[in-house]
Symmetry: C2
Subunit: 351 residues, 2 copies
Amino acid sequence: MVERVVPIPSARRPTLIDIARECGLSRATVARALSGKGYVDLDRRRLIQETADRLGYRTSTIARALRTQRTSSVGVLIADITNPIFPQIVKGIDEIVSSDGHTIFLSNTDEDPQKQVAIVRSLLDRQVDGIVMVSQTLADETLKLLEHGPPCVFVNRRPYEGVDYVGPDNEQGIELLLTHLRGLGHQRIAYVSGPSHSSTSRERLAHFRVSMAACGLEVDERLVFAGNYYKESGAKAAEAFMAVTPRPTAILAANDFVALGIVGYLHSIGLNTPADISVTGFDDMFDSSLMETEALKVEGLTTVNQPKRHLGRAAGKLLLERLGAPDAPGRKVILPTELRIRHTTGPVRKG
Amino acid sequence: MVERVVPIPSARRPTLIDIARECGLSRATVARALSGKGYVDLDRRRLIQETADRLGYRTSTIARALRTQRTSSVGVLIADITNPIFPQIVKGIDEIVSSDGHTIFLSNTDEDPQKQVAIVRSLLDRQVDGIVMVSQTLADETLKLLEHGPPCVFVNRRPYEGVDYVGPDNEQGIELLLTHLRGLGHQRIAYVSGPSHSSTSRERLAHFRVSMAACGLEVDERLVFAGNYYKESGAKAAEAFMAVTPRPTAILAANDFVALGIVGYLHSIGLNTPADISVTGFDDMFDSSLMETEALKVEGLTTVNQPKRHLGRAAGKLLLERLGAPDAPGRKVILPTELRIRHTTGPVRKG
DNA sequence: CTGAAAGCGCTTACAG
DNA sequence: CTGAAAGCGCTTACAG
C-alpha cells in the first residue's frame, strides 16, 4: 500500500471569504452581518453568525485598521514602571480605555529624551488612536512629532496651557502642608523643588512662595534649593540648608523621593525627624492598598496624597472624549490632594 | 480681487507611492531601497532615502503587518500592575524585547479567568508575535486559544512541563529559609502555602516537605495551611496555628503578602516577631532600588529574593529565540534566589 | 437587501 | 537592477 501524504489542513485563521463561501454569500454581506452595520436578511444573518462561530472566525484587527485607519490602541508613556507612582496611574488609564476596547502599549522613557522620541515615533508608526504622556517633559522633537499625531493627553506635566491635561491640585497640596506646619509653629521653612522643566514642579515652587506670603512668612532664598525629584538632590539640599544660620525648622520637599533623601541625610548626621526638624513629601507614593499592613508598614512620611488611580481614570476619559471630538478645545482636570499626617512632622523645637 | 480657496495640502502620511512619484521610480524599487533588501542602484538608493527623509516618510507598520503577518508586538499578561512584584518583571521583559523592535501590550488580568480569556483573545485578534504569561494560572479556554496562537513563554507558573518557562529556584529558596531557621534552633515549623493551581506554589509546598525531612524534622499536618497568596490567608493560617499545641516557633509563608498577613495577625494578638515567633516570606517584593533608603525603609521581613528583573529578561530572551525557532523543544530557565535576613527571624525562644 | 469593486499601504516572487 | 502584479483581510460607498 502506497503511503499518501495527506495535506494537513492549514491552520490559518478563517477570513470573511471562508464564511462567504460556506454561506454562498458575498464578503460584503458577511461583513455587514458581522459588524451589525447595514441591512442583512435576518435568516442569513443568523446563518452567517453561526458559521463564523463554528469556524472560529475573528475579524483581523490589522486588516480593519489598515482600512479604517483606526487601531483601537493607545500608547502610554511613563518614566519607569518600577517607580510606584506610575503603576497606579496606568491602572486608572487602563480601566477606562480597555473598557472601550482599546489596548495599551506601555513604554518606559527613563526620563531620556532620546527614548521618548523613539517611543513616540514607534507609536505613530503603529498609528495608535491616542497617547497619554505621564510626567513627561517633552523633547522639542517629540512636540514636533505630536503636531501631526493623534490626540494626546498629559498627566502631571504639560508642555503648555491649552492641551488636555490632568493633574493634582498642586497649589492646594502645598497649602495643606504649609498650614499643617504653620499649625505646629514652624516659621523658618525650606523648600526643595523639582526640576524646572516640569510644569508640576514649577507650580509647587511658585505656590510655596505664594502660600508662605499668605501665611505671613518670609522666604529665605538660601532655603530654596533647585532639586530634580531624585533622592540625591534631597540629600544635597539638606546639606546646604544645614549650613545656613539660623537653620530651618521644617523642610518641604517637592516629592516623596526628595523627602526620603532629606530624611536620610539628616539621619546620617545625627538629626532626627520630627524631633530636630520636620520634613514633608508630596505624592504619597506608597499608598497602594497592597502595601498596607498593620505590622510591617513603610515608616511614615508626612505627605500629601495625589489620587493616582483617579488621575489615570480622568486621563483615560479625557482621551476617549477627545477621540470623539478632535476639535473641541483643550480641557483641564485638577484633582484635589489629601494631607497625610504621619511621623516626620511635629511641633517646632523650642530653641 | 476674488478670494481663492487654496486647497490645504492634506496632512496624510506619505506613502511609498509619494516617494516613487517624486523619484520617478516604482513602489517596488522604493520599498527595496528603504528596507535594504534586494538590489537598488546606489545613486537611486540615495535619492530615495533623501526623498523619504524630506517627506517624513515612515513605513506603515499596519500595512506591513497585514502583508507579512508579523506585527512586532508582544502581549504581556500580569495579574495587577500595582502589585510591586510585576513591574520589575515587566521591565526586564521590556528591556529585551523592545531592543528587538517589539512593542508591549500590557494587560492586567486581576486573577480573573474571564479577563484572562478576553485579553488573550484580544491579543490574538491583534496578531501579536508572542505572549508572556506572568504568574498566570491558565483557564481551559485560554489554553485552547493558545494552541492556535503564537509562541508563549510562562513566568512563575506553567500549565504543564515542556513549555518555555522561567521561574525562580523554588526548591533552593525553601532550603535557604529552612536552613536559616534550623540554624536558629527552630524545629517546629509551620507552612502557609499558596493556591494549588499555581505550579510555583505547589513546588514550594512540596519542597517544604522534602526539605523538612532532609533536616530531620517532622511535618505536623496541622501546621500546614492551604492559603492563596493573599494577606488574609496568612492571618487565617496564623490564627489556626495558634490553636495548635504545641505552637510552632516559626512560620514559613509561600510569599511576602502571606507573611505580612501572618505578622499582622500575630501583632494583633500581642505576639511579636521575632521575639515570640519567627516568620519568613518569599519573593522580596519590596526590593526596588527606588524604594531603598537609609532612614525610611520598609521594616524588615526576612525572605528570599527572586531576581525579578532577570526573570523578565530571561523570559524576553526565550521569547525572541522562540520566534526564530518555532519548533525547537521547550526550554526551562531556573534562576537562583537569595536569602535576605532581616528582622522577622531570630533564635527560637527558650520555652 | 445584496454584490462587485475599489482601496487601505505595504511586500515579494516573477519576468525582464 | 527594475517594474508590473498579486495579495494580505478588511470596509464601504455605489449601483441595482
